[in-house]
Amino acid sequence: MALDGRLGAATVRSLGRLAQGYALSVALGVPLGVLAARSQLFRSTARPILLGLQALPSICWLPLSILWFGLNESAIVFVVVMGSVLSIAIATEDSVSSVDPLLLRSASTLGIRGLRFHAGVLLPAALPGIATGLKLGWSFAWRALMAGELLFVAGGLGQLLAQGRELLDVAQVMGVMVCIVAIGLLVDQVLFRLLELWLRRRWGLVEAT
């Protein structure tokens, strides 16, 4: 594949955007989820709106994003964030509300409060569930990114795909598709699986072998 040079560069560009967008959505989504699980006020006010927004396919954010941010990187990153932040938040909220109340009671009797409680007890206790949400959020982010790059041509793997179509180069299109699948598999089956295994071993959720 003569694409090799361009493929590498495009992959790096796509993954860079993905990393930015994903990191942002985790940084926003997890606290949002914790807030939703712990605050009755938040739940009764903002949550219905968030649930509604989650029903919007991420690509529908693209026109708005271009209008707001113009034709640049921020627009794509915005789409990626909006695609994944809500699923991460919802999974986090679920996970936090299912934490064993005995652990929370234990923490409160030991005098663990405030930030130490939220970061040191609540989050770790909910982490196995949050990890599932992170995995889901990643696949949404990846899809949103590809859709965005295809429509809004600005470098990256999506652009290579679009280019291949325009040049009627099936080999290029398929080559890029293989690359996209490979990245998806790598992250899903390797990175996230390793994370899950580590979590389950450490948290004692698997049988010791």
């Binding site: 064993d100 109340p101 005995l102 652990l103 929370l104 009671r105 234990s106 923490a107 409160s108 009797t109 030991l110 005098g111 663990i112 409060r113 405030g114 130490r116 409680f117 040191g120 007890v121 609540l122 770790p124 206790a125 982490l127 450490r202 948290w203 004692g204 010791a208």
Partner: protein
């Protein structure tokens, strides 16, 4: 026949009504009452409970399921706001959970992602102690519960008994003013439980912490306690407040202890009668079954029903 002047009972005055002390009580419970309001019914979990616990006493709250002993304990711990009455510890009203009145639950409730050592160090650091001191205290208390060498093990790799020991070490390391224990050995098998009794008794004899221990097991109460507060349910109330004068260390198979446990069980079997402990007891040939007849099921310990339970972790 009634023997109204004989305030003794049992073999040689080993189980006598508690007479109280002049000095100010460490824990003062006054006219405590609590009602759980459910959709169509009310359960009077506690009614007019008055108890004083003095510094260094080991008090056992003994009674069948549903008699309100756990409700009383949770109110003492600040995990429950009672519907009526007052509780004060060291002269200050109880207004929420605090490591000064640490509660040990039926399940060890260790943090599963932390090693044994980290489970002890984490709350010590939360208390404000520097890392070096926390590590040292953790090591010391793990030694006292005979778990040296297990510091870097994760809780799920330990047996139930070992987890209970870690929970106990954690509670003791926090050095609370008052230690509250809600049937902490109920989930253990008889052998491990007996071992834990010995361990707890030996540690307690050394430190003389003020302990309030809830149990439904008469023998456990007699092996561990200086005082046994016998309770009954519906409505939850104190039947008798007895002082145990057996010398320590106590052997659970001691014939005197066994006889005392029979007396208490008899008294509990008929809560509506006036206390029969003032009369000479007729020894009954019973089965060795030590636990008491259950009353109607009470709420799960980890999930108290409505009635203004405390928001978990809401106090920053």
């Amino acid at each position: 026949m009634l023997w109204p002047f004989r305030k003794r009972c049992g073999p040689g005055g080993l189980l006598v009504p508690w007479k109280g002390r002049q000095e100010r009580a460490k824990i003062a419970v006054r006219r405590l009452g609590h009602t759980f309001r459910q959709r169509r019914s009310e359960v009077v979990a506690l009614q007019d409970v008055d108890i004083d616990v003095h510094s260094g006493q080991f008090v056992c709250l003994l009674g069948p399921s549903g008699c309100g002993k756990s409700t009383l304990l949770y109110a003492l711990a600040g995990h429950l706001i009672p519907s009526g009455g007052q509780i004060s510890i060291d002269g200050r009203a109880v207004d929420g959970p605090s490591p000064d009145r640490l509660l040990l639950f039926q399940q060890p409730a260790l943090f599963p992602w932390l090693t044994v050592r980290q489970n002890l160090v984490f709350p010590l650091r939360a208390k404000g102690l520097p890392r070096a001191t926390s590590e040292q205290i953790a090591r010391e208390f793990l030694g006292r519960v005979e778990l040296t060498g297990f510091e870097d093990v994760l809780p799920h790799q330990l047996s139930g008994g070992m987890r209970s020991r870690v929970a106990l070490a954690r509670a003791l390391a926090m050095d609370p003013a008052v230690l509250l224990m809600d049937e902490p050995f109920a989930a253990l098998d008889a052998q491990t439980r007996a071992h834990m009794h010995q361990l707890l008794a030996s540690i307690w004899t050394r430190d003389r912490k003020t302990v309030v221990f809830v149990t439904h097991n008469v023998r456990e109460a007699l092996v561990l306690g200086d005082r046994v507060v016998v309770m009954a349910g519906q409505p939850g109330r104190v039947l008798q407040d007895l002082e145990v004068r057996l010398p320590r260390p106590r052997d659970p198979d001691d014939s005197r202890l066994v006889q005392l446990s029979r007396q208490i069980r008899d008294a509990l079997a008929r809560p509506e009668e006036p206390p029969r402990l003032l009369r000479p007891t007729v020894l009954r040939t019973d089965s060795p079954e030590e636990t008491l007849r259950d009353q109607p099921p009470r709420p799960e310990p980890g999930a108290l029903p409505a009635g203004r339970p405390r928001r978990l972790g809401a106090r920053f």
